[in-house]
Chain length 372, copies 2
C-alpha cells in the first residue's frame, strides 16, 4: 500500500471511524483502523464488534495512489500523528509487509501494524428498503431524547433508545423510568414494515458526533438485529439491544387538571436558582407551588432556603404543590427551542408533562417526588 | 448589615477573595467570606490562614448603605447565588443576627451565617518600604517560572518560587531539581534591603488569576515571614516557606561548546511530534542529534519510531547527541515569545540552556537524561 493524501481529508475520516473504537476493548485487532486502498479509493473501517463505522475516500480526493493494499494501523497514535504532521500532503507507504511509514519531507513515523487477514469480516449491506431523514432532524431527535436514557446496566434495554415506525410516523422514546422523552416525526411516505427496535444509547451518541451541521440526507437501513445509517461516504452500523422495550404509550396522561403557560427562559432560570440550595447534589429536589397566577419555586438545605417567583398564565385558580428533580426538569427544558412552554399536571403524585406551545412533536415527562 | 449593590461589582470581588479559600480547609469559619460594611464601603475577606485576600468596594460603588455591620457568609454557595440572580441590583440584609437574606423582587435566599467575632484577626499592614512592579511584568515573571516548581511535598521549599532582590535587580527562580527557570527584572531605583525569600507556588498561582490584563501597579511589601501584594483595591497576603532555598546561581554554566539558533515554533513542533512515540507518558524522552546544520529529534516506543528534522544555525560542525524530557522542553519553550531561540549545550550529560535570541532576562535550564 502506498499513497499520498491531503492532511485534512484523511484526518476528518480517521476522526469519524475512530469513534467506533472502544477504550475498554480487549481484542487487540479491534484497536486498529483498517486501511483498504484500491484504485477506486481508500476504505477506512473501525469496529468494537457492537458498532462498526466505515468511511470511503474516493480516488478523486487522494493525491496519488501508487500501490493498492490493505493493513491495520493501531488507532492509539494515528490521529495525533496526522494532526501534528507539518505539511499539507502526507505520504503513507507499507514496507516489510507489516510496517507502515507515514512521512513528509522532514517528519517520518515508522509504525508496526497488524495483518488485515486477522480483521473480522463485517457485513455492511443495504436492507431491501430504507427510510430517509434529514441530518438536522435526526440530530435534533437524538438530542431531544437521548439524555433521558438510563445509565444503569441493570436494566439494559433502558440504556437504549426505542425507535418505532408505524406507517409514516417515526417515534423515538427514551426513559430511565423516572422521566421520559418522546419525539415524533412524519415521513413523506409510509414505510412498508412496522418497526419497534432499541438502539444502544452509546452508539447513538457517536452518530450524533459524526453527523455535521450541513443539511444532508441520512438513509436508515433496518434489520432484525442491526441498524445501518448511511451519511455522506460513511456507513454507521450498530447492533440492536435484544428484548421488548416497555410499553410507554399509556404513561402519558391524556387529560390534565392544571395547565400552565410560561416563558421557557424565565422558568428555567427560576428552577436553576432554586436548585442551588437542595439537600444533596443527587436528590436535587425543588418544590413548585402554583398560587393565583404565580409560580413559586423553592428549596432548602442545611445552609438556608430559597424562594423564587415567576408570573404565569393558568387555566384555573386552584393551588397545587408538587416536588421534582430540578436536574431532570432542566434536562427536559433544554430540549425546547421556542419562547413558551406549557406545563401539564394532575395531582402532586402524577406525572408532570412539558410541551412546547407551538410544536406538538416533542413531549417531556417527569415523575414527581413525594416529600414529607 | 443592610445594603444594595450591582451584581457585577460584588461578583467580581467575591470571585477575587474566594481564591483564598482552600477546598481542603478543616476550620469551619475559614470556609466563610467576611463581609464588613461601614459608611466608607464594604470590605470582603477570605483566608486559609496561609493566604489572605481582602478586597474593598468603596461606598461610591455601592447603591445604598442602610445599616453597617459585619458577618461571615459561607463561601460554598454565595458565588453561584450571585451569578444566577435575575436582576442587576442585589439586596443584602442581615436578620435575626446570624441570618442573611439576599434578594431581588422575585428571588429570595435565606442563608445561615457565622459570627464575625469568631473570625481570626489577620494583620494586613504595610511594610516600612516596598517595591512597585507593573502588573503585566509581574504576571509574565510568574508564568515564565512557576511551571518549574516541584509538586513533591517531600521537598517543600522547591514547591515555592525563590524571590530575590539585590540593589535594583529582582530575580525569580523555580526548580524541581530536574529543570530550572530564572527570570530577572530591573527596578527603577535600588531597594534598600537584600531580599531572599520563598513564596508558596500555589499562592502565586492564585495571584496570577487575580491580576487582570489591564496595566496597573502592584506594590509588594516584604516581611520576614510574609509578603503582601497590593493591586487595585485588593490586598493579597501570603505566608513564606521557611528555610534556605538551594543556591542555584552556580548551576547555569557560563561557557558552552554548542550554540544552536533555531525558530521557536519549528523547534517546538518538532519536539511535539517526536514526543508522540515515547516509551511512557511519564518519561517522555526524546533524543536530539545535531549533525551539520540539521537537528534530528527522534524517539521510539513499542509501536514504532519517529524522526523529525529541522534546519538550524550552529557555531560549529561537531556532532552531539543528547536526550531529554520532551514535556520539560515544551514547558520551557512555551515561556518564550520571540521568533528565535538559542540552545546552549556542552556535553550529553551537562545542562541544556535555552534563551531568547533578543532578551537576556529569561533562562530555562533542563537536565539531560542518560539513555543506554
Amino acid at each position: 500500500m502506498k499513497f499520498s493524501i491531503k492532511k485534512n481529508i484523511i484526518l476528518e475520516q480517521l476522526t469519524n471511524v475512530s469513534k467506533a473504537i472502544s477504550p475498554r476493548n480487549i481484542i487487540p485487532i479491534l484497536n486498529g483502523i483498517k486501511f483498504d486502498l484500491s484504485k477506486d479509493g481508500l476504505y477506512l473501517m473501525a469496529s468494537d464488534s457492537d458498532l462498526t463505522i466505515q468511511s470511503f475516500i474516493p480516488a478523486s480526493e487522494i493525491e496519488n495512489i501508487e500501490v493498492e493494499g490493505t493493513i491495520i494501523i493501531q488507532s492509539k497514535y494515528i490521529l495525533d500523528i496526522i494532526k501534528k504532521m507539518p505539511s499539507e500532503v502526507i505520504n503513507f507507504e507499507v514496507i516489510d509487509n507489516l510496517k507502515i511509514v507515514i512521512y513528509t519531507d522532514t517528519s517520518k513515523y515508522n509504525l508496526n501494524c497488524l495483518n488485515s487477514m486477522d480483521y473480522p469480516q463485517i457485513e455492511l449491506n443495504d436492507a431491501p428498503s430504507h427510510i430517509t431523514l434529514k441530518s438536522g432532524e435526526l440530530k435534533k431527535m437524538i438530542r431531544q431524547t437521548i439524555f433521558a436514557i438510563s445509565t444503569q446496566e441493570s436494566r439494559p434495554l433502558l440504556t437504549g433508545i426505542n425507535f418505532k415506525i408505524n406507517g409514516n410516523i417515526v417515534e423515538c422514546v427514551a426513559t430511565d423510568s423516572y422521566r421520559l422523552a418522546k419525539k415524533t416525526m412524519t415521513l413523506d411516505s409510509p414505510f412498508e414494515d412496522a418497526v419497534d427496535i432499541v438502539i444502544p444509547g452509546k452508539n447513538i451518541n457517536e452518530l450524533d458526533k459524526i453527523i455535521g451541521d450541513e443539511e444532508q440526507n441520512v438513509d436508515i437501513h433496518i434489520f432484525t438485529n442491526k441498524i445501518m445509517f448511511k451519511y455522506q461516504n460513511i456507513l454507521f452500523q450498530s447492533n440492536l439491544l435484544n428484548g421488548s422495550y416497555p410499553n410507554t404509550s399509556n404513561l402519558i396522561p391524556a387529560d390534565f387538571i392544571h395547565i400552565i403557560n410560561t416563558k421557557l427562559d424565565e422558568y428555567f432560570a427560576s428552577i436553576d436558582r432554586a436548585a442551588l440550595l437542595t439537600q444533596s447534589k443527587d436528590k436535587n429536589i425543588v418544590k413548585m407551588e402554583a398560587h393565583g397566577n404565580e409560580l413559586c419555586i423553592s428549596s432548602f438545605a442545611e445552609i438556608g432556603k430559597v424562594e423564587d417567583r415567576i408570573t404565569v398564565e393558568r387555566n384555573n385558580n386552584e393551588d397545587i404543590s408538587i416536588s421534582f428533580s430540578a436536574k431532570y426538569m432542566m434536562d427536559a427544558l433544554k430540549t425546547y427551542e421556542g419562547e413558551d412552554i406549557i406545563i401539564f399536571m394532575n395531582t402532586d403524585s402524577k406525572p408532570i408533562v412539558i410541551k412546547s406551545a407551538t410544536d406538538e412533536s416533542l413531549i417531556q415527562l417527569i415523575l414527581p417526588i413525594k416529600t414529607y
